[in-house]
Symmetry: C2
Subunit: 326 residues, 2 copies
């Protein structure tokens, strides 16, 4: 099933179903007004939504209209929990290597996560507004899952069944604010402004064989100003799969339905696949040339993040964001 | 105005008005179903809620009933943003001193904050369930504000007007999970489980002269197992007032209405006032005796957090939580 949230001017938007090929959409507001409301009562509503989704794909759905990704909010325009992992540990290792620091061995066994702000997500085609490029604006192309209610202490095996939806994320980062903020010891805050998510959220079954071992086995494609910047495979070099991240998040508290858990920047050891953020490219340049050559985002730069199935059809629609001066 | 959320079995509860003396309550669900919904449309709804609040205080409100704090959820049972400061910098200084570390000078001018989970807040009288006391369960008695929509880049002067409500918080902390987590460099996550808030949230005018300079000038009283543990004045030694914390939070992103911003553990240089968390007491013991004498919370320990006006009337009702084995 594919779901999206129409930006109808309200804070939480209007729930829509989107056809598998992203060509058609239909309102689901009569079943449930918003995606959060659907997640609040998923077991009861999911069959009703699935039935209409089937009709939509069969071309037999009253009220269906042409789907335009630009009408969408992020699937959850605001959420109650957004935690982002660093599941591609080779990326973290590279960050350390670029500054000549060893990475603790525990990073291979204990997930690194940060809690993010979730009250003001950007729409997938919304501009990123910043007062200055001096903050070092970067994108991070990632995958995220949305869970239902997860009890505290859940195991990774149990966690798999709590993953209800998947999306793409642009975890916007302000690289030049990070060192000062991390030096204070309490983690990111100002350096992690509002993130944006793909127009469409999907149930895991939509991925077929590409969803296995709790990972998405497809390339995540990032373009910067129309040129391919990276297409690492999200199923490769993911040290912690999604169920493991969910279990980590629920160690000392339950998670409320609608909790969003991100993978962190997708990154492969095979550097020919390119990168999913400017910082990684700059680190590779630093290791090779002694200094970074690629700048962070400049005003009017456009980042586009998308994932395609084995037939080269877009799965989630695209995140496409221009950096503009606020 | 005093507002509360009745635990009616739903995820977001039912909005109530509570009389100034906390003796009577009345549903406000016909005006607005939940507190978040009221904040979503505050300018329009606030006068209607104020009118009923006036009737309630005048004893002329149909449907009024005896108020029982134990019927309450936290005012926002779940929220879209919860960020906690460390505005009482003397407390942070003490933490450092106890482990023989210098505190950077910048801590006096640049607020230290962390982003917390906000999907599963505890009710004010709800048990704190943990599988073990080995995690070092501690309370932190604090004050928090709730904002409306705050634009990115707001100044502290402008921020004052965005503070709509105040509450008390118990920011539950797992002290023995903190060192390992902070060593990883991404801040707190598992070490900060679900927090609880006071039964009642109030508009700032309810504090009269005790709300000035963006601070609450009254003692915050903490009892542990019925004995007074601390009553430091929240208006004393608060290095960053609430408008400054709001401006800090909004530096690189807007804040969505219902954003909760905490003060951090209330702490006075005058140590005769006692403390607002076990960790601080243990640090003072470490400095004096070379080691802590007071243990962290044991199962069945009860913490109670409350604030009284100049006539010794409870302002927010109490947070009262027992630690139990999950």
């Amino acid at each position: 099933m594919k779901l999206a949230t129409k930006n109808n001017g309200s804070r939480d938007g209007e729930l829509m179903l989107v056809s598998r090929d992203l060509s058609q959409a239909v309102s689901a507001a009569d079943i449930c007004p918003t995606l959060q409301a659907a997640l609040d009562n998923w077991d009861e509503l999911q069959p009703k939504l699935e039935a209409r989704y089937q009709q939509l794909n069969d071309g037999q759905c009253n009220g269906a209209f042409e789907f335009d990704q630009k009408m969408c909010h992020s699937p959850l325009p605001r959420a109650y929990h957004w935690v982002d992992g660093s599941a591609y540990v080779n990326h973290v290792e590279l960050v350390r290597k670029a500054r000549g620091a060893e990475m603790p061995e525990s990073f291979w066994t204990d997930p690194l996560v940060y809690q993010g702000g979730s009250d003001t997500f950007l729409a997938p085609f919304e501009e990123i507004k910043m007062p200055t490029t001096d903050w070092g604006v970067d994108f991070e192309s990632e995958i995220a899952v949305i869970t239902d209610d997860v009890p505290m202490g859940v195991t990774a095996e149990q966690a798999q069944g709590h993953i209800k939806l998947l999306m793409l994320v642009n975890d916007v980062s302000l690289r030049n604010l990070i060192p000062g903020e991390l030096a204070k010891g309490f983690g990111f805050y100002q350096s992690k402004p509002s993130s944006a998510f793909s127009p469409v959220a999907i149930t895991p079954d939509e991925l077929g064989e590409s969803w296995k071992e709790g990972k998405v086995h497809l390339p995540l494609v990032t373009h910067l100003n129309g040129e391919c910047f990276g297409r690492p495979d999200a199923g490769v070099d993911m040290t912690f799969n999604f169920p493991t991240l969910v279990a980590h998040a629920a160690k000392s508290r339950p998670l409320g339905t609608g909790c969003i858990i991100g993978s962190g920047t997708v990154s492969n050891y095979d550097r020919s696949a390119g990168s999913s953020c400017l910082a990684e490219k700059r680190m590779l340049e630093t290791i090779e040339h002694g200094k970074p050559l690629t700048p962070f985002m400049q005003f009017d730069d456009i980042v586009r993040i998308e994932m395609f199935d084995l037939r080269q059809n877009s799965i989630f629609g695209a995140i496409e964001q221009r950096l503009v001066k606020s």
